[in-house]
Symmetry: C2
Subunit: 407 residues, 2 copies
Amino acid sequence: MRPLIVQKYGGSSLATSDKIKNVAYRLMKEKEKDVDLVVVLSAMGKTTDTLISLAQEISPRPCKRELDMLLSTGEQVSVSLLSMAIKELGGQAISLNAMQANILTDSFHSESQILDIDTQRIKTHLQEGKIVIITGYQGLNKEKDITTLGRGGSDLSAVALAVALKAQCCKILTDVSGVYTADPRIVSDARCLKKITYEEMLELASMGAKVLHARSVELAQRYDLEVYVKSSFDEQNAGTLIEKDVKKMEEITITGVALNKNEAKVTLVGVPDRPGMAAEVFTCLAEANINIDIIIQNVSVEGFTDISFTVKEEDLHVTILVSKEAVRDLEAKEVIFKKNVSKLTLVGVGMRRHSGIAAKMFRCLADKNINIEMISTSEIKISCVIDQDKGDLAVQALHKAFELEKS
Amino acid sequence: MRPLIVQKYGGSSLATSDKIKNVAYRLMKEKEKDVDLVVVLSAMGKTTDTLISLAQEISPRPCKRELDMLLSTGEQVSVSLLSMAIKELGGQAISLNAMQANILTDSFHSESQILDIDTQRIKTHLQEGKIVIITGYQGLNKEKDITTLGRGGSDLSAVALAVALKAQCCKILTDVSGVYTADPRIVSDARCLKKITYEEMLELASMGAKVLHARSVELAQRYDLEVYVKSSFDEQNAGTLIEKDVKKMEEITITGVALNKNEAKVTLVGVPDRPGMAAEVFTCLAEANINIDIIIQNVSVEGFTDISFTVKEEDLHVTILVSKEAVRDLEAKEVIFKKNVSKLTLVGVGMRRHSGIAAKMFRCLADKNINIEMISTSEIKISCVIDQDKGDLAVQALHKAFELEKS
């Protein structure tokens, strides 16, 4: 049996007919190595955005079932074109949409979860020697309605197909060379990591390093699937391998530093310290569909406490409205907020075995006169909320202090 | 049970989001009459042409299976948008693609035939009070591959769905007001017909009146389905009803006059008059994928005959090459041809019961000094090949001579 590799190409790699031809050529080269290839595609370039705009011209909040029906066409266009391109080069290929690839999901339109993939048809085409090209981002529920998987959906399709097909690995081909120790636009000597663990990638993925969505990393981790993130434009670069925690030299502790800009900090001041208070506040915010990030509750002083949290700046307006209501209902004192903050995160499995990382981080920021407004930690990461203006400086300082440019 | 009506909207009625909203508004009005509505859509505006161009950038002759996969997205976009638009107006609607509507076809990609429609799901949604919006032009073969129905495919989908659902009627909403006695751009007082028989419509459909494809008319005729052709922009005009031959006043004999421009006439001169000669000539032409229209073989003189036929002018070059080979093989004399001819057709079931129509037609053309190069007749039509320059004049003269402006 030939080894099976799943490759995923994003929209920027498919933006024009020439780019699609280029992907076809690369796949033909890859196929010569006598491997089985399953290819998962996003929609071409900005197609999805264009379709969303079209929908919004018709309905400001379009029906999600119909929106999924609409958006799923984007990937169907790219898979059919890539299949044509491979055939034009003399190769064998077939495109499959989610229905044909039997990708079964639940019915939560616009954010479905994959329940099962019946791989029979895919395997048949692989046995025929064909490159099988599958629409990412979408599935079919049991009523045969088209669903989509939400943000990062095509990555998830690729990982799920790799798991279902027991592929050797899954390669996410994108417009960056891999996962970096920091954003190369901020830190000039940021280094592309050769390896990273699932857990580190999870922290980075949710902390602003947008190369791979957290859901895909979680799924890969659960089934121990090797995932490569690499450039679709640069053949030579091997990219970053995401895999389980392997023994490392003890001194390697920190993997990378990430920055989330455009956050806002909100504090409910003087909340009566009774059980269930926090639950009530955050239920109201959840109902308003607002994603809360860091939450901090200070120790209670004389029966009152302050609850602080961060939200995306674009959600601030609604957050304040909802928070003011909560303050009234809970008989708390007031709502205060601060715009233009950023979240700075240091990630690394090595933290587990090393003390003093946090102290070193805080010292480094203090040396640069950067004030820390909030702190939140997990086993393998430390996040600080700081002034937006100081964000880039902070990333550069940490990158240098922890010598991340050295491999 | 509520009466069921199938409506079909073409691309020009769906070209922008505003036009789609307009269709949604009209359907809501129609739905108030307590009818069940099934709506069949084409792709928006020029979408199909754009997709074909994109495919050709990648492959000059793209794989038909993949081309169907690509083109079918166009209708899926329009059905989802129309469904959103109806919901935005407070109505109930659901969009279905060919897979969801269970439209089973054979596997002749790009020119499939519909084999069966399982209407269970459609009926369920109608019972829920929903307007059911279905992708025209496409189906699914038994391998679950997407197929398309070829030219006029969306009309065919509408008629087939109306037949399968036993609809009261099928309304084809288009950018013209109905079927005219002649092209209104040529004859200023051309009249929109209130009624026309299937047979007359068939002759007109294949003779240049492009409002409705012949395949759809044939299917409607087979199942005795009433089809209306009417404007999607002009509510008031009732359009043209296509139905079976009903008793008419004897004096109504002629329904319309049609003109096919850009034809060419080809003659094989001095063909030995042996059995099988014509078969051989036209087999060669069919293999070259050339559509032959009128064929005339003159009586044989001294063991030789001339065979004349018409083709589309765009096919003339290949036709001459093939014909020259045939002439050599058959030991005939030569190939002559004439470009820039038109085919003029007079249609009407009344011809069956009236003699002298042909004579009147030829006399009318002679009076205008228009030379007739070929003649071909059926029970309900007479076609003449004439000089292209004289085409409009001929249509105007016949329209007047047969008093088609009077109802």
